[in-house]
Structures are given as structure tokens and as C-alpha cells.
């Protein structure tokens, strides 16, 4: 049985390096009034504040909210990438997080090498890795590009490879960021069938998205994140209605 329990989780980002990344966070945080200080009076961005979520097998959760509301940070925290500043996260069941198109791939390595690394990371055996490679090759239709470094790929090809690779593995807990639903129309039609397969195969889905129809179609529960907090939690139709009434002008 898969299970996710997010208990009173807060995540603070320290502001150390003056990189573009931190700058972006700073701007978002300033815009949403979430700059603060931690116990040692260092400047931090409070990306998540006291989040409680409990999910069990069969749950399909949609995360909505404006940019910088903490959706992606929450996904990263559940994936175990950011260990919480306060609180506890428990995930029971194998997990696959589809967070960005590159999925941690190394751009200087070929597509095939990146596939192999992903297989090794998952502890796959040689035949399993070969099967993974075949599956990705067939779906991504990269042809000879599969043996070229990923940095030579067009952005569309990167998405195709990342998508094919990420969806070739069947986890119990699937975390998905919205980039997954982007791409050109012809790819999207083909991708949808494959994605739906993985989604159906997963025990728990957590999807962060702006695409309202997708959330309504796939999710059985929606959480509206705002300023790093759970603003509203409930049935998709109900939350969506309030969300749309509050943020978007009526169409």
C-alpha cells in the first residue's frame, strides 16, 4: 500500500548566493511577502509553511496556485530532495518524480548514456536497462540523435527524451510538474496515451498544474496552495470554482 504523509512541513530557503536562482526566489518572495528570518536570523524565503497532507492508495491530488505558491517545492520535498526545515515527510512506495524536462540528465552525455544511468540509478539489471532503452528509443523517435550528446537536441527533442524516459518506469507514487503537459500538438496526442498509462498504473498521483481541464479530469482531490500554505483542500470542482472566482476573470 502506497502512502504519503506530510506532517506540519515547513521549508525555508536560505539566501546565500547572489545567483539568478536566488534572485528569482527573492523576487517571488518579495512579491508574496514571504521573506523572513530563521532562528539564527539568516534571511530565508519561507517556501512552505506548516503543510499537512495525507494521501493513500487511489488518491489523485492536484496542486493549484499562482507561480511561487510553493507547488514545486512541495513536490521536491515529497521526492526527498529538500529535507524539511520543520516537520516530517513519510513516503511508502516506490517514487518517481517528473519535475523538469532534463530530469537530472547530463547534457554532455548521449541520450543512450543518460538512459543507462537512469536504469542504473533505479537498480535495474542489464536486460531491464536494454528494455528501457528500447522502449524510450521507440517512443521518443530520436533516431540517430540518441547517440549524440543531449545538448545538441532541440528543446522539443529534450522534452521527448525526458518524457519517454520518465514515463517508461512504473512507480507507485508519481509526482508530476506541469511541464509534462507541454509540447507540440502531435507529440501531445501520442504522449497522452502513454502518460495516462503511467498515471493509471500509479497508486498515488500528485500533479501540479495550471491546466484546469487536466486537473479536473485526472484528480479526485485538489489543494490550492497560496504563499506556501494550503489555502483550500477539497473536491476538484469545488476548489476550482473558488479558485477561478478569486483569481481569473469570468470567461
Amino acid at each position: 500500500m502506497a502512502h504519503i504523509r506530510v506532517e506540519n512541513v515547513s521549508v525555508d530557503f536560505p539566501l546565500f548566493h547572489g545567483s539568478a536562482r536566488s534572485l528569482k526566489k527573492t523576487v517571488f518572495a518579495a512579491a508574496s511577502g514571504r521573506l523572513g528570518e530563521d532562528r539564527r536570523h539568516r534571511r530565508v524565503v519561507q517556501a512552505l509553511r506548516s503543510v499537512h497532507i495525507d494521501l493513500k492508495t487511489g488518491d489523485r491530488l492536484g496542486l493549484i496556485g499562482t507561480n511561487g505558491a510553493g507547488k514545486t517545492t512541495l513536490l521536491r520535498a515529497i521526492a526527498g530532495i529538500y529535507e524539511p526545515t520543520v516537520g516530517r515527510i513519510r513516503v511508502e512506495g516506490s517514487l518517481n518524480a517528473l519535475l523538469d524536462p532534463m530530469l537530472g540528465m547530463t547534457p554532455d552525455l548521449t541520450g543512450r548514456e543518460n538512459i543507462m544511468l537512469r536504469g542504473l540509478y533505479n537498480g535495474f539489471s542489464k536486460p531491464q536497462i536494454a528494455a528501457l532503452e528500447n522502449d524510450v528509443q521507440e517512443f521518443a523517435e530520436l533516431g540517430e540523435f540518441l547517440d549524440l550528446p543531449v545538448r545538441f537536441y532541440s528543446s522539443g527533442m529534450v522534452v521527448r527524451l525526458g518524457f519517454a524516459l520518465a514515463t517508461a518506469i512504473r512507480p507507485q507514487v508519481l509526482l508530476m510538474d506541469e511541464w509534462f503537459l507541454a509540447g507540440d500538438a502531435s507529440f501531445l496526442a501520442k504522449a497522452r496515451a502513454r502518460l495516462e498509462n503511467v498515471v493509471r498504473g500509479a497508486d498515488i498521483l500528485v500533479l501540479s498544474s495550471h491546466l484546469i481541464p487536466t486537473v479536473l479530469e485526472w484528480c479526485t482531490r485538489v489543494i490550492w496552495m497560496d504563499h506556501g500554505r494550503v489555502h483550500m483542500d477539497g473536491a476538484p470542482a469545488e476548489v476550482m470554482q473558488t479558485y477561478l472566482a478569486g483569481t481569473a476573470p469570468p470567461i
Binding site: 521526492a79 512506495g93 516506490s94 530530469l103 540509478y121 537498480g123 521507440e138 517508461a168 493509471r200
Partner: protein, 289 residues
Amino acid sequence: MDSLTPETLPRLPASHLDIGADSEASHRERQILAATDVARGLKLWKLGLTLAWLDIKLKYRGSVLGPFWLTISTGVMVGAMGTLYGTLFHMDLKTYLPFLALSLVLWNAIGGLVTEACITFTQSETTIRAIRMPFFLHAFRVVIRNLISLAHNLPVIVLVFAIFAIWPGVHASLALPGFAIWLVDGFAACLLLGSFCARFRDIPPIVGSVMQIAFFVTPVVWRPEQLGRHNWWLPFNPFDALLEVVREPLLGNIPDVNTWALALGYSLAFCAGAWALFSRVRGRLAYWM
């Protein structure tokens, strides 16, 4: 495509994640978490080996000789420095060149590892932000990568030893325990410098200049005997003892007990420091990327 059903996709092995708040963890809990990280990293050794091998392959992709450029450049360096310093120091090339070849190759291994230890985590920034991975795996990758580089330099030693008909004999096997210390120190260096450099981005250039100085104050191109009675400060240089425990057996000598004690003592202190830092900051590393 249509044949693809959820059943044909490879299944991920079951797993379990339980992550408490880093700031609330006790000292003991942190030790356990860090030890788990190392154990999980070792379990992924196949991935570590592949990553290290791909790093080497990538560095020399498109070049005809590939990593053997390392061999050639080391060979040229040994030849040039050997003649220069041999003349400067009025050394007998027959004994000096084998010493220098061995010293330089070993020092290149130390220097290369220390420099690359600084980027242990920062070079894997995108991966660290994309998937949860044991941090030790990155240290493993850097150490193995440097081992592969070292292996490519070995022909230079073999060639020089063959030219001067030098055979270290059975004593050479005594270099193995010394080398084992190096390996452990290498992992420690990656965890320590990797963490430190992830938090403070100014450290790598400082480490670079320290290593430059260390090269001159360590008996690499000169022999410890050349210091004469001024050699009292040598034991304060940790690199000296560490170099000796591997170099001396390969030259057919047995390092004395003091050298061994120093090498072990420095290594223990270094590993303890590295462990203290790594177990303290492990949970924060992802935030520093």
C-alpha cells in the same frame, strides 16, 4: 505504442522514505542518516563506476588518443623536470628519475583529487535538484574518476623503472595498505571539501593555491635527505607522511613506524573532521545548490 500497457513497463523496486526536519535532528540521528547515505551510495557502486568512466570518456571525447594524453603529458613532464632538476641538484639520473617519476605521478593523483573534491557536489547540481540520490555517490564518482586517471599514468612509472632496470621487489606490496589509507582519505576529502565548497563558493581557488604551495614544501621533486638537518618541520606536513607510505615501498624501501603513525594519525583526524562536517550539513546540501 498502443501495445504499451502499465504491465509492460518496468516496475520500480519498493522503497520507503522517512525524512524528519533537519534542524530538529539529534546528533545521533544525523550520524545514522549520514551513515545510511554512505551505505546507499556504496550500494549504487555500479552507477558510480559508470558515472566516473563516462566523466573520463567525456573529457576526452573527440580526441584521438583520449585519456592517454594524460600518460603523454606526465611522461613529458617527468622527462623535462628530471633533466632540469637532476642538473640543478647534481643528482644521479639513474636513481633520481625513477624517484621523480613515481613522486610526480603520485602527487598528480593527490593534487587532482583534492582539486576535484571541491566540485564533488556543485558539478552534480542539476542531478541533486532533480532526484534524491545518496550524496556519497558523488564522492565515490570523484574518487573512482581520479583512480582511472592515476591508472593512465602508471605506464610512465613502468617505463622509467624499466629503462633504469629498477625492481622494487616484494616490498612493493607494502604500498597497498598505504594506498588503502589514500582511498579512505579521498572519500573524506570529497565529503569535506565538496560540502564546504558548495556552501562557500570562494573555497576552490584557495584550495588550488594551498595545493600549489604544498607541492613545493613536500618532497616531490626533491628528496627529504636534501634538507639535511633542516628537516625537523617535515613531520608537520601531512602530505609528506602520506606520500612516503606509498612511495617508499614502491622504491623498494620499508617506511619506518613513525611515518606510518603520522600517516595514520593525520588520516584519522582528517576523516573525523570530514565526517563531523558531512553528517552536520548533509540535509542542507540540496539547499546550497
